[in-house]
């Protein structure tokens, strides 16, 4: 699996790439902490996420929703979609497939 990367694009999109394991949580949080309104998170190139990654998304979603904004999650692979289901995150995030 690939190394992890996270990119904040100009069109209010965050792209997650590679393997998002516990060692990458701080790197991801630094990016998510910068956003203040609704953003799309594109999972198309993400192969893996663990509970530490889910926590980064949860913290951000709580903060944004307090101000009427949210993260919208798109293009998840089947494995990652299943992890979101296991955690019940499909009940607290809008997950869109194209």
């Amino acid at each position: 699996m690939d190394m992890f990367d996270i990119q904040l694009a100009e069109n209010k999109e965050i792209r997650l790439i590679g393997k998002f394991d516990a060692t990458q949580a701080d790197k991801a949080k630094n990016i998510f902490d910068q956003i203040q309104d609704t953003h799309t998170v594109n999972f198309e190139k993400l192969d893996y996420i663990s509970s530490m990654g889910l926590s980064v998304l949860l913290i951000t979603q709580k903060r944004l929703l307090d101000n009427g904004h949210e993260l919208v999650l798109i293009n998840m692979t089947r494995h990652i979609r299943e992890v979101f289901g296991y955690a019940g995150f499909d009940e607290i995030f809008k997950i869109v497939s194209f």
Binding site: A22, T23, Y48, S50, S51, L54, K62, H79, Y86, I92
Partner: protein
């Protein structure tokens, strides 16, 4: 196959490498590989975070039987910490009430078919079993 891994988050990649080597050797399919990587990470990070009494290496073992893959992690010279006794996480809680963290063990229990805990001579062993469906690994 077994390996001892330094009890530190920075060793996570060593563990993933070990799992991938085992998966290649045994021609495990992507679903099983994903489950083994994720379950191993969740258990390992729990041991690093909560079993802080000793810094001994953690032993990871993987074995395949006809209908299952068995992953076990042993933490040496620690207090008992039975992951099957942890209060259940409510995955249906609304967002404001959701605690941050505590998701690892519930995910492992969904991913794997069996989660067993053994405490013997001050050593904790967590054994995770994944059944192979239709004989296809």
């Amino acid at each position: 196959m077994e390996k001892k891994i330094k009890k530190d988050l920075s060793s996570l990649n060593d563990m993933f490498d070990f799992i991938e080597q085992y998966a290649d050797k045994n021609q495990l399919n992507p679903d099983i590989r994903f489950a083994l990587n994720l379950a191993a990470e969740e258990i390992f990070t729990n041991l690093v975070k909560y079993n802080t009494q000793s810094r001994n290496d953690i032993r990871i073992t993987l074995q395949k039987k006809s209908d299952r893959v068995i992953l076990a992690l042993t933490d040496f010279n620690v207090e008992k910490f039975d992951i099957n006794q942890i209060k259940q996480y409510n995955i249906h809680q609304p967002l404001p009430e959701r605690p941050v963290g505590k998701l690892g063990i519930p995910i492992v229990k969904k991913l794997m078919d069996k989660v067993e805990y053994e405490y013997k001579n001050r050593n904790s062993t967590i054994t995770l079993v994944k059944y192979v469906r239709n004989g296809y690994v």
